[in-house]
Symmetry: C2
Subunit: 110 residues, 2 copies
DNA sequence: GGAATAACTTACTTTTTTGTAAGTGCAATC
DNA sequence: GATTGCACTTACAAAAAAGTAAGTTATTCC
């Protein structure tokens, strides 16, 4: 088997840099069906600390994956949602979630 | 928008538990075209320490994702490859790598 | 007007992950 | 028989990620 140029390496690493860590994929998962308030996300992701949620959202925002919208009429209402670009992540999310589900079933059987 | 049961949460977390971290997806990426020796992987993944490579391979082995085969005829030849079960990860790997590639292009343009 | 809720921020600690560097045993090659 | 390459192992250190807890500002709700 010939030694391929390690080209894919940089691509996988790029993804990891943007989506890696304990929380980001989880946050994105819960945004995939539409905008969520900060407090909603907190409830949807058991165990996450407010600081972590904030921090990760800020990073996703700066990477232009997530939008932050403040509603001026009803103050202290902030919603996070995918940017159009961010939606390109959904095809990554799905197989990943599916695999987790299948793997869970498997280890339950064993 | 109704608050979904946070079911996907556990699935995403399961995947993260098995495939998370700096190196595992990268290692698997380089196994997707067939078996590789320890020394080959070391070359294919620039910057990885031997200790890390060993450690991650051991974990993938214990999770039954990767096979370790020792060739007795030619000693000190050890090959790592996907188990049949491990191959189920390939559909996760591809979109992830594709997204990284697209994202790289995007940030180069910006 | 007092309490509660929302969306944060900050200082600090702990834990986890990753890295460094040196060393082992064994076989093949010079 | 000395050196080299391979597949590891170990002790230790550094860095990165995550967590805790308290506080801030402003706004509804009673």
């Amino acid at each position: 088997m010939p030694m391929e140029q390690p080209e894919g390496t940089i691509f996988v690493q790029t993804t990891l840099k943007i989506l890696g860590g304990k929380w980001k994929l989880l946050i994105l998962w819960h945004l995939k069906d539409g905008a969520r308030r900060f407090s909603e996300l907190k409830k949807l992701i058991p165990g996450i600390a407010e600081k972590m949620l904030m921090q990760q959202l800020r990073e996703l925002e700066k990477d232009e994956i997530v939008n932050r919208s403040v509603y001026k009429d009803v103050t202290s209402r902030v919603e996070y949602s995918f940017t159009d670009y961010g939606k390109s992540i959904i095809p990554v999310l799905k197989p990943l979630c599916d695999w987790g589900q299948a793997h869970l079933k498997r280890i339950e059987r064993l």
